[in-house]
């Protein structure tokens, strides 16, 4: 089985650092290093964590008007995306369900730069290529690695190597020369912390990784802590909180459907999105604080106070920064108000839970310098 797993350019570095490697999205990836998930999580919240996210797909969309073409399949407003900026969007099916969530940037003049989920990338590229045929092309950037540097000390660390990064704010994206190579840097990430994602050529990845780790404020962090960090940040995870049956509106991702796009209604699934934006929803995302007992994980049922099942947890676990379990799930809108008392059913036992605001841990994005 392990022979079938792909390796990122940082595989050897992970093994050398004592990482526990697990299969993830078809790759052998580090789930944790020697310190373990809890310490790695807290280190990222206090200092700077370095993540290998090279399993994610990186691609260029090029064409006459790549943004206009891309809007056929993705919900966000890309024609209005200014050079140097990045935007979150969702790839939709004809029913308004989410095929994938992705980040799209204009780091330079070379069309759009897209980052998609590792487990979804082959399907995404096939859909994009098919829908954009004759207008735009999708080129996989298989020869690039992607690193994420996240945490309150990330900006100071990166500024020493990439001076331009200090002038960027949240969701800025820039093509720069850094570490002696062509890099694409965006001030973004998926932990709720300030931080950056850094795309570099694969053959420079290990050198960049080691250069950043040479700073004592930086430690390598595995996918285990990446998941607990994103959960605390209230960020949905594709394949868990998002799938082809869930619409971005149900998932609370209204911002991923641009204003210009709502007015035009010119994309796949627009009918359902418009209906749901008008309030016709049967389920919505809820964020739960579990008040007693065990963590409620994916698949646990959500019940009302009387014990009637009303929904399901789509991801959940223990929140290291908070010291109690939290969960993301779906329930009818009548149960979604903050403060609503609910139950989660874990191994047959009903435990008290409460709907709380998202994010669970306040995010620390730097929106203004």
């Amino acid at each position: 089985m392990s022979e079938d797993l792909k390796k990122t350019p940082l595989y050897e570095a992970h093994v050398a650092a004592g990482a526990r490697m697990v299969p993830f999205a078809g790759y052998s990836m580090p789930v944790q290093y020697k310190d373990g998930v809890l310490k790695e999580h807290l280190w990222t919240r206090e200092h700077a964590g370095l993540f290998d996210v090279s399993h994610m797909g990186q691609a260029r969309i090029r064409g006459e008007n790549p943004a206009k073409s891309f809007e056929k399949v993705v919900s966000a407003d890309y024609q209005g995306l200014k050079p140097g900026k990045q935007r979150y969007g969702v790839l939709l099916n004809a029913d308004g369900g989410v095929i994938d969530d992705l980040m799209t940037a204009r780091p330079d003049e070379d069309g759009l730069f897209v980052v998609v989920n590792g487990a979804c990338k082959d399907n995404d590229y096939a859909i994009i290529a098919r829908e954009l045929a004759g207008e735009a092309t999708v080129t996989r950037l298989e020869d690039r690695a992607l690193l994420a540097l996240q945490g309150p000390e990330a900006a100071a660390v990166l500024a020493a190597h990439v001076p331009e990064s200090a002038q960027m704010v949240f969701m800025d994206a820039k093509a720069v020369t850094a570490f002696g190579v062509d890099a694409i840097v965006s001030r973004s990430g998926y932990t709720g912390e300030d931080g950056y994602e850094i795309s570099v050529p694969a053959d420079a990845a290990e050198r960049v990784w080691n250069t950043l780790l040479a700073d004592e404020r930086v430690k390598p962090i595995g996918l285990g802590a990446r998941d607990s960090l994103r959960l605390e940040a209230g960020l949905p995870l594709y394949g868990h909180d998002l799938d082809e049956t869930v619409s971005p509106i149900e998932a609370g991702l209204n911002f991923a459907v641009g204003k210009s796009r709502r007015e035009a209604g010119d994309y796949l699934g627009a009918d359902r999105i418009a209906r749901e934006l008008a309030g016709d929803l049967t389920r919505v995302r809820v964020n739960l604080k579990v008040l007693e007992g065990a963590p409620a994980r994916e698949g646990a049922e959500i019940a009302d106070e009387a014990g009637a099942v009303i929904g399901k947890v789509t991801s959940g676990g223990f929140a290291p920064s908070l010291g109690y379990p939290i969960a993301i799930g779906f329930a009818p809108p009548a149960y979604a108000a903050i403060g609503t008392k609910l139950k989660v059913i874990v191994r047959g036992k009903a435990a008290a839970a409460e709907v709380v605001a998202s994010p669970f841990v306040p995010n620390r994005y730097v929106r203004k310098l």
Binding site: V31, Q32, G36, V37, L38, K39, H41, G224, A225, D227, S228, G293, A294, P295, R297, G317, F318, P320, P325, R347
Partner: protein, 121 residues
């Protein structure tokens, strides 16, 4: 101390077995954040689910290494689940079971056999 292939340990005093998970298991689980221990009075058969240990990432079952009646669960683990990582083979015990069939203990691995078993993993 005797051991199972599922990485539980048993220490017998008189007709009572104290049960926990091994240092190897605790290390594999990572940081334990929640433990569900059985209540006194519950009867278990060898191989039944006895307790549940949760790390940040996942929930894992702990199986009863011996049959009998639970006479005490380690309720201190509710407030201090991290004891399972700190003292897996002492203070991090899960339950005390009054043995129904002491011969079950003799069939479990001793320390040398368990370590030889670990070396095969």
């Amino acid at each position: 101390m005797r051991f199972t292939k599922d990485h539980e340990w048993v220490v017998v005093q008189g007709d009572v077995a104290t049960v926990g998970i091994t240092a190897y298991a605790a290390e594999q689980l990572g940081d334990v954040v929640f433990v569900e221990v059985p209540e006194a009075g519950k009867t278990v058969k060898q191989g039944d689910g006895l307790a549940v240990v949760e790390s940040v990432k996942a929930a894992s079952d702990v199986y009863a290494p011996v049959s009998g009646e639970v006479i005490e669960g380690n309720t201190e683990l509710s407030d201090a689940p991290e004891t399972v990582n700190a003292l897996p083979e002492s203070g991090g015990w899960f339950a005390k079971i009054k043995l129904a069939n002491p011969a079950e203990v003799d069939a479990l691995m001793d320390r040398d056999a368990y370590e030889a078993f670990l070396a095969t993993l």
